[in-house]
Amino acid sequence: MKIKYFAWVRERIGKGEEILDPPPTVRTVGELVAWLSSRGETYAHAFETPKVIRAAIDQVHVRPETAIAGAREVAFFPPMTGG
């Protein structure tokens, strides 16, 4: 699946998007965050406070308990500050 990062999540990870294939044991958005955190220091830094991280699946806001099955694009970003 395509994973996208925005704002300081993108800066900390050092890339805006990548294609990753998480193992089948990773079933929810929250589990995906935990799996990504284990991929290295930059990821661990980006996701060090999971409760502030917001997520979207296929461009719709989702919660940590949302299943990722069938997702084409998952995005992670900080709370929004537009307007």
């Binding site: 996208k4 925005f6 704002a7 300081w8 979207a56 461009q59 719709v60 806001h61 995005a75 970003f77 900080p78 709370p79 929004m80 500050t81 537009g82 307007g83």
Partner: protein
């Protein structure tokens, strides 16, 4: 007449007066137009801000704004709606965002504009980065913005 909805995300500046005129041009059913302009401030808590850079999630930003525009159209009797949100580098005094709502009467136009701004702040995927003298930093979300958006939640 049907309502005219225009939603744009762009780097270029916009002309507020022209956007307002465009919404009510040639119509006699509109009795009230409300506009909100968000403008880049040159200081924050005494620190000089030399510029803001607005990042967005292309595709989702348009989708989120459209979703809330549709909700506003369903909740209030609007004749027209224009939302313009800029992205990229914006310097103090420049426009960031514009919401214009048109209706037969003022109450719907005021309320819909406030509803849309509250949701733009908290659920449209845009992020502001400030350029300060001491270095750049990402603007933090404000709890009072979340509280403002929650006012519109219907149980």
């Amino acid at each position: 007449m049907t309502a005219i909805v225009s939603i744009r995300i762009q780097e270029a500046d916009f002309d507020t007066a022209r956007e307002i005129a465009q919404l009510s041009k040639g119509r006699t059913d509109i009795g009230a137009v409300v506009s909100f302009s968000g403008i880049c401030r040159g200081s924050e808590h005494g620190d000089v801000i030399s510029a803001l850079t607005l990042e967005h999630y292309p595709g989702m930003a348009e989708a989120e704004i459209t979703r809330h525009a549709n909700e506003a159209m369903a909740r209030w009797p609007l004749n027209g709606l224009t939302i313009v949100h800029r992205v990229g580098r914006i310097t103090p005094g420049e426009n960031i965002v514009l919401v214009v709502t048109a209706s037969s009467h003022r109450q719907a136009a005021f309320q819909a504009a406030e509803f849309l701004m509250d949701y733009l702040k908290t659920s449209a995927p845009f992020w502001k980065r400030e350029e300060r003298e001491g270095g750049d930093n990402w603007v933090e979300a404000q709890a009072h913005d979340d509280a403002a958006a929650r006012r519109w939640t219907r149980s």
